[in-house]
């Protein structure tokens, strides 16, 4: 290929088709062959075929079915080979009572792909995998991202991500994880794992834990897209709506939380006219659906409800802090965690004064899981500053600056420490 204009145009079109089709293709294939690794290889084979043929023939009118048909041919070959192998094993007296995947093959091709996608999500986010592995595998097979793109998003070397994905697939095979949409009591736990992965991806984009950039919006967008897909696949799950609402409400502030030179701008100092009203509206509507579906609110819906309190306040001064405290109280009961307690402290400080907030924070100082968490000294510093205890506040900001791995956040915290020293 010479890389001339038409060829590169075709490549860009193929890339776009791949982004649209990859997840559906892999999902369907995974159901047919039973494992993600093989499904992805088959899908990749189809992509290679497209790259070979489309630059000359043009992108077909219905590229999705083209890719599926191509992958399906290869899958049929593979299944036939496997059956032959099984038969050979049988002849050797080995047991081969496993249901060959081929029977439902033909009918499966024309069916709705929705359940397949859901099955793929559950498989890629299976609790048998580490969180890192779930995140990488999800972005790869459901987001259609390349290993390089995932590595860039997480500031991790490409070989590490590649390794992580290979190992994740192997783990799934070794643990005999089945391609299924779980039902019954298992479903809630498995769904929680899917939601956790999506939220992790979002948060990595929303407040990048490391690196030069304070936010990486592409990861947020990827997470919201996965969330919206899940909403369409599981519309009766309140917490799915809750999570998407939470992400949309937070993402509505993405552009306002970065200053002109890339520095972080804290929530109460943001220019609210820069909040994305479309996302605010979607988030509030999603929260309403979440609440209507469940009667009560789950942890994600509660967090969305907290974000909604900010979204509804035209100015920072109009924030309904007592309501936020009440929501944090409910959240702390439902899903107690030191991080939530720390956030509650901020709200208590705003609603009932800094010294009330400080009481809550001080109870957390010896919490082992927050030992290296930069926001603990950052919040404590803020409350101390409001109480006029500037020396102590400055020390806390300095400590927080040493703990964060994000360069932009470090600068902000150092600046706050310097302000305390000057006062």
């Amino acid at each position: 290929m010479t890389g001339g204009a038409p060829a590169s145009e075709a490549h860009r079109a193929i890339e776009a088709v791949w982004r649209i089709e990859a997840a559906r293709l892999i999902a369907r294939l995974a159901r047919l062959v039973g494992d993600i690794g093989t499904a992805e290889e088959l899908a990749q084979d189809a992509l290679v075929a497209a790259l070979e043929q489309w630059p000359a023939s043009g992108v077909p009118e219905r590229p999705g079915p083209w890719l599926m048909a191509t992958a399906r041919h290869r899958a049929t070959d593979l299944i036939r080979r496997r059956r032959t192998l099984e038969r050979k094993y049988e002849e050797l007296g080995r047991d081969a009572d496993r249901d060959p995947a081929g029977q439902e093959f033909d009918s499966a091709v024309e069916e709705d792909v929705g359940d397949d996608l859901l099955g793929l999500m559950f498989m890629a986010c299976h609790p048998v995998l580490s969180t890192d592995a779930r995140v990488a595998l999800t972005l790869r097979v459901l987001g259609g991202l390349t290993t390089e793109e995932i590595a860039r998003g997480f500031l991790t070397p490409v070989p590490s991500i590649a390794q992580r994905i290979v190992r994740a697939k192997r783990t799934l095979t070794e643990a005999h994880v089945r391609f299924e949409v779980p039902v019954g009591s298992d479903r809630a736990a498995r769904l929680a794992s899917v939601l956790e992965v999506i939220y992790l991806i979002f948060n990595e984009g929303y407040s990048a834990t490391a690196g030069e950039d304070w936010v990486r919006p592409e990861l947020c967008e990827e997470a919201m897209r996965l969330g919206r897909i899940l909403v369409a696949l599981a519309p009766d799950e309140s917490e799915v709506h809750g999570l998407v609402a939470l992400m949309e409400l937070h993402a509505s502030r993405l552009h306002a939380r970065v200053g002109p030179s890339g520095e972080p701008v804290l929530l109460l100092e943001q220019d609210r006219s820069r909040w994305d009203r479309l996302l605010v509206g979607r988030g509030l509507a999603g929260l309403e659906r979440a609440t209507r579906l469940s009667g009560g609110m789950g942890p994600y819906a509660l967090q969305a409800a907290i974000a909604a309190c900010h979204a509804r306040a035209a100015t920072a001064n109009e924030t309904d802090w007592p309501r936020i405290v009440a929501l944090y109280d409910a959240l702390a009961q439902l899903a107690p965690s030191p991080v939530i307690e720390l956030n509650r402290a901020v709200a208590v400080g705003m609603a009932f004064g800094p010294s009330a907030g400080l009481d809550v924070v001080d109870a957390l100082v010896d919490e082992p899981s927050l030992k290296a968490y930069h926001l603990l000294p950052a919040v404590r510093g803020d409350l101390l500053r409001k109480l006029g205890r500037f020396d102590e506040a400055g020390d806390e900001f300095t400590r927080a600056a040493l703990l964060t791995e994000n360069a932009r956040e470090r600068e902000l915290l150092q600046r706050r420490a310097a302000e305390c020293a000057r006062t």
Binding site: A13, E15, A16, R19, G114, E218, E221, R225, S273, L278
Partner: protein
Amino acid sequence: MRVLILAKEGERSEAATPPTPAAMAEYQRFNEELVKAGVVVGAGRLSPSSQGKRVQFDGKKRRVIDGPFAESKELVAGYWLWQVRSMDEALEWLKRAPYDGGTFEVREVSMHEGV
């Protein structure tokens, strides 16, 4: 990136008669596919321009003009807001839309700087 799709359906933008049930069903199927892919973040259909107004600015003067408007090729019948990863992805989706006439315009929504 967020893109705005302006559906310039030509003469049909002004049609008082609704589309046939079959065309409607096909459109709905397409829209559903978009929603399921997490692409749609907003959408709307516009009333005919006969019910629309224009406001013309000339220095300090403002002049209100009643519809219908003449340049039927430019008339917008509806819009979508899509969240996509690239212009190419938007084009790939749009090519799948079940229309047999009209010109659809795809424009990136650039981020509004603090006003």
